[in-house]
Subunit: 386 residues, 2 copies
């Protein structure tokens, strides 16, 4: 396998982009990525696009063709991959494998979701289709309720508190205020999080990621070619993907995600990197408990200690392991298919030292963690500055 | 890149499978594929699944997780790819690239679609989402109408006749009668095809593929390992993928598909095979004109001569270039995501000499051709007996 590097990236502003179409969003993110990599469209050999539910959100499947067309890049091959909220992470993985295999040289990994053109009920119905239709969605379960069950069990087993969970929202919204592309620019307090409307007990509104429009793109090339494009290439040193039961009721444990642990194990092994070597991480904080469980499942602390290290400030931008400096899904917003790519873009910026006000101090090794549904899929990538 | 071989395959019966669920279908096809390859589930390293619109057809996205779960294979990574009717062909390509890259060794390439659990109108609406939503579907264009426009132009430029087109339906339905897994077991005549109800002039009902349920799976391994599994490995010698404008109105020509020509060029070059070396082909006959154009775009005859060589019987099972011996999309049925995999399975059976009553005489080299939408995506694969 050839080694692979990221040599450019770009994204749209994340938010309720009512005056920007799906087509415009991908062009905007793609153009920024190409400009950042200093390449033209003719140099692109293939594209991979992560998207969850364009068929349900904008009545458009076959978006790979639409994107190749509206980018003016046809007949370049373009492939859509879907794994619920992990669609973007999987697009990155497939793009990496394509470059690693040698079948393509310059590949764009993209992610996009247009969620706010439908009324909220339609959006919620679309989101429910990534849970088990026959055993979960059919009986009315919504996504926050799955994580609420996990939160209750985590509180029961480890004494995790609602205040510790709220601190995740406070930290990630603070970080988002330092990110011009983030959806939510508002400083929170623990009190305000705890007093926000209950979504599914114990999770409150300000602890759950919102509906968001957005797109993000990265440019990948073989590592050995990377210095032709940039002085600051970032190697994709490891990639791990795993699945789990789609229905929560079939899992052995509710206090963590097996798919995360398995994907992380593979990524660490491939990169020959250990958790303690990671300098900065973007993890899948679809809810506050999701981030706490991710810290544990990724090996950054022992099981049950996610709340404690958050409380101690270790995961703040000036902490020993900054987590979600971009603002995460909660602060930056969560345009589903785009999230996995935006996570990687943040790590690339951090490792290049270009993250501005939210730059972490020492950044040689970064990690991204993208979860589909309630944990039926997980994708973990490791990045290294070269 | 490592060379890749198919060492096993299996499929469900194609048809209106009202008593079989999506979950049951994929298990049935997968079990047959594993039995054929002589392997157990524990040996599988990864799965790729082609599916167009499970979100719209059965209110279930994230099917990769569902399939890994219900196969009992979690945490094995499973990835869904979508490119309208070319979803299966793309799943095969991604699975091939994964094995070629070295990141995985034993990979299942699957395709599935459950289309008949919704009323026909919902099915038609789902199908329309793979055309350009803003410029085609929104104004009421349906899929047969795109191919009707191409047929009219083909008739105008080359004198192609309705009888020549009808002969494609007659041939493919005849072949399907020899295939126990095919949906339509009925012998047709040119008269009966011409007298069937008009769908979109000049295309009649018996010239258009039907709504179908079905699943198909293949097992891929590195070619150098293939003889551990089977005495009759089939190499995937070439793979080509291309895109085109999603909207028909933006194309330079209506008498062929640029994406097909471009994908074929890449596949032939990779395999170092020329069109005249192909012994048997499964092409994307979503309508009768689709097959005639494919014959031309794949280099089997000159542009405009597709009708003529069909009339001469060259594409019959006992002709010099048997095309769609399985019955094709028209006779075997067209469960969208499954079609590209079922095409490859037929070529594998033909090259292994296991196609029973529909076995073609000399079969060393085979080709599959899978089209998404009205030609916005095309995938071509070349196979060689080893």
């Amino acid at each position: 396998m050839r080694k692979v590097a990221v040599v450019g990236g770009g994204q749209t502003k994340f938010g309720e982009l009512w005056d920007t179409s799906f087509r415009q969003m991908i062009i905007e993110a793609g153009t920024r990525a190409l400009e950042d990599a200093g390449i033209s469209g003719e140099e692109i050999d293939a594209m991979y696009v992560g998207n969850m539910s364009s068929g349900q959100f904008i009545q458009q499947e076959h978006i790979a063709s639409l994107i190749a067309d509206h980018s003016g890049l046809a007949p370049v091959p373009c492939t859509r991959v879907e794994a619920a909220c992990a669609s973007g992470g999987l697009a990155l993985r497939e793009a990496m494998v394509a470059v690693a295999s040698g079948i393509h040289d310059v590949v764009v990994a993209a992610g996009i979701e247009k969620m706010t053109d439908v009324i909220t009920e339609v959006g919620q119905e679309a989101l429910a289709t990534v849970s088990d239709q026959e055993w979960e969605a059919f009986v009315g379960a919504t996504f926050p309720s799955f994580f609420a069950l996990m939160a209750r069990r985590h509180m029961h087993e480890f004494g995790t508190t609602e205040e510790q969970m709220a601190l995740v929202a406070v930290k990630n919204h603070h970080n988002a205020c330092l990110n011009a592309y983030a959806q939510h620019h508002v400083e929170l307090t623990v009190e305000r999080v705890l007093q926000s409307p209950l979504v599914s007990s114990p999770l409150k509104m300000l602890e759950c990621a919102s509906l968001t429009d957005g797109a993000a793109c990265l440019v990948l090339v073989p590592l050995e070619e990377a210095r032709k494009y940039t002085d600051t290439p970032v190697e994709i040193a490891g990639s791990g993907q795993a699945s789990d039961t789609i229905a929560l009721a079939d899992r052995e444990s509710l206090v963590g995600l097996r798919a995360t642990r398995e994907a992380a194990r593979k990524a660490y092994r491939m990169a020959r990197i250990e958790p303690k070597q990671v300098d900065v991480a973007e993890v899948h904080d679809s809810t506050t408990i999701s981030e706490l469980m991710a810290l544990e499942d990724l090996g950054f602390c022992r099981k049950g200690e996610g709340g404690k290290i958050t409380e101690e400030g270790l995961t703040a931008i000036d902490g020993t392991l900054p987590v979600n400096p971009s603002g995460g899904l909660e602060g930056r917003g969560h345009p589903i298919g785009a999230t996995g790519i935006a996570q990687a873009l943040e790590i690339v910026l951090q490792l290049r030292g270009e993250a501005g006000k939210r730059q972490v101090r020492k950044a040689e090794v970064g990690l991204t963690h993208n979860v589909g549904g309630s944990g039926g899929t997980a994708v973990v990538h490791l990045f290294r500055r070269r």
